[in-house]
Amino acid sequence: MKNQKRGQIRIIEAFLAVLIVFSSLAISASLTTERKTTESSDLASIGLQALMKLDSDGSLSDYIETGNWSGLRETLNLLLPEGVSFNLTVYDGDMQQINNEAITNGNLDSQEVASVKYVCVSQNPNFKYYVIYLRLAVVK
């Protein structure tokens, strides 16, 4: 009888241990996700603002229409905060990629990446629009 009770207590102890371990892991997982989502959202917001600033005077579509990819890369480098890597891809209205060279300032592999999708409407008399995908990551 004594041994039986001792065994039951052991089972309860073991399950308590499982519960503690599981709950601590669950809490840490939720905290990690929340933090990373916020960071990613902030980065996307920064990227969107940079593109909007560049688009406000029509210079974004000018860079695209003249194929001045190095100029676009340098301007984005200036507009984005230091320590942010980016990779930009430009598509026309038919979703055909336009940029024939990489518009990037670093490698985004194995990093937390935020994505921005932006429609750039040209101020050119002939109506055109471009779809821009901007991927951003904080250099660690």
């Binding site: 599981f22 990373k36 029509g58 999708k117 932006y118 409407v121 101020q123 008399p125």
Partner: protein, 258 residues
Amino acid sequence: MKGLKKLAGAKSSGQLLIVVALAIAILISTTTAYVYEVSREKPSSTQDYPIAELIQAVKQGSRNAVISALANASTGGEKRALALNLDRLVQAYKSLNVYGLYYLSYNVLNDSRYVNGVLLSWEDTDGLGVSSAYANFTLKFSGLTEKTTLSYAINITTTITLEGHCTLNGSEKIVNLTCQVFNEGKTALAKNITVYYEVNGRWVPANSSNNLSITDYGNGIYAISFTISTESDAVQASIHVYDLRGIFVKANVACNQA
């Protein structure tokens, strides 16, 4: 139950602990795998932006579409360019579903001055020239957490004012003009300025043979002077301007002798 009781017995308690330890190991490993999965690279969707930024982005797109239409209409394109541009813009946003779930609609201004949302007022001789386009938009945005309906108007207007007089210089007349360029009521720069004067009902471009000089003060004010041989008291002058957005506007003025 019998089995459990047996396991819980003193002799089998070690086996039970092994089973429980295995259960713990499985739980920990699956939890770790889950944590790893969710904390891996998470591409943020555009819906992660604040809604105010999405609205700004759509406004920016519609503003550029109106500028494009006015640049087209003012350089000889059809006045329906605005409606055509905005149709294409609405379709583009709809097909790409760029900023989540929303519906953008528009209507162009039609009144005594605007036709199909475009106003080109150039022919007066009071020294005022206006190129303008106006459209109202309604944006209905349905995100996961919030629903927003926003109405806004886009008014793109390039205006020039022209003042002038002429002075007699021997047998010639020196025409002095002051031109000011405005975008949406604020001073703006011109990309290109061409000067004309009227001779026998025909507009003639002023050039270096007329000692044409254009001084750019950098604040939207341009001082222009040229010389012509004419016997008439007043000289009709016309200035054709392209602003930095490619919108064309012209203004005419009668320059009387000072």
